[in-house]
């Protein structure tokens, strides 16, 4: 058996296992940690697929920055556990059935379609290297790249506006003055 295939199978088991761990863990902090493991395994998949730059971005942006934000908010709100309350009985079976249907659909489309998916081209060894990505990003995709800057600025301002305390009421310092 091909070494790549062995690595793929091991990583696939870890990825699916950590995703299930995220889904079924009752504690939101553990869920977040499982998701970080999942993102890290996906980063290794990117390396297998010849995308080292994307793999490093995945680790720094996703597993690093985004998940730190998640953990920060979980601990800020103290929302690891939710209080027990009455559950909807039919929710889990219906959701499970729908998920099974989705998976079956995907299986059907992938394996029963006429065009079997195969590796079609051989790529050069520096495919997906940072220099290559940079060339494409700053020539062909320059406009979308600049637009993402605006998007990030808008998100930053929006997050600050939404999350700040309601300042309609005067603060104590203003009342005393």
């Amino acid at each position: 058996m091909d070494a790549n295939l062995i690595v793929f199978i091991i990583l696939a088991v870890v990825a699916v296992g950590s995703a299930l761990g995220m889904l079924f863990n009752r504690n939101a902090v553990y869920s977040a940690l499982f998701l970080i493991l999942n993102f890290a395994t996906v980063a290794v998949f990117y390396l297998l697929l010849g995308a080292p730059f994307i793999a490093m971005t995945q680790v720094t942006v996703y597993a690093g920055a985004i998940m730190v934000l998640f953990l920060f908010v979980i601990m800020l709100l103290g929302a690891e556990h939710l209080a027990n309350h009455d559950k909807i009985d039919w929710q889990m079976p219906v959701a499970g059935g729908l998920a099974g249907l989705l998976l079956f659909e995907a299986y059907w489309v992938i394996f029963k379609s006429d065009q079997a998916l195969k590796w079609t081209v051989e790529v050069s060894s520096d495919f997906g290297a940072p220099a290559q990505i940079g060339k494409v990003l700053f020539s062909e995709y320059l406009l979308p790249f600049e637009i993402t800057a605006f998007l990030l600025l808008a998100a930053l301002v929006g997050a600050v506006i939404i999350a700040r305390r309601n300042s309609d009421k005067p603060t104590r310092a203003e009342e005393e003055a």
Partner: protein
């Protein structure tokens, strides 16, 4: 080399797990993490097909998806914090004010 089919199946499984999380969990933050999982499975598919067709456009698109996901997480978590301020909980079943 691993056939691209395997990556497609793995991506479908991860997406299904994410969808299941959105459908069944009550904690708004966990639902949000499930959305991230779904985005990530789509990214995996993009990179797999970028390799399959030898086209860097797929990898560039993953880069943009990550940027949008970062923006989405910042705004979404701010919304969750705002909801928590007014409700003292992030259980989505409690956020039913519009129901009347």
């Amino acid at each position: 080399m691993v056939p691209v089919n395997y990556f497609v199946i793995l991506s479908a499984v991860l997406f299904t797990i994410g969808a299941l999380g959105v459908l069944t969990r009550r904690n708004a933050i966990v639902i949000f993490m499930s959305v991230e999982l779904m985005l990530n499975s789509a990214n995996l598919l993009f990179v797999a097909f970028a390799r399959s067709f030898g086209d860097l456009g797929g990898q560039i698109f993953v880069f943009f998806v990550m940027t949008v996901a970062a923006a989405e997480v910042a705004v979404g978590l701010a919304l969750i914090v705002a909801v928590f301020r007014s409700k003292q909980t992030i259980n989505i079943d409690e956020a039913s004010k519009l129901k009347g």
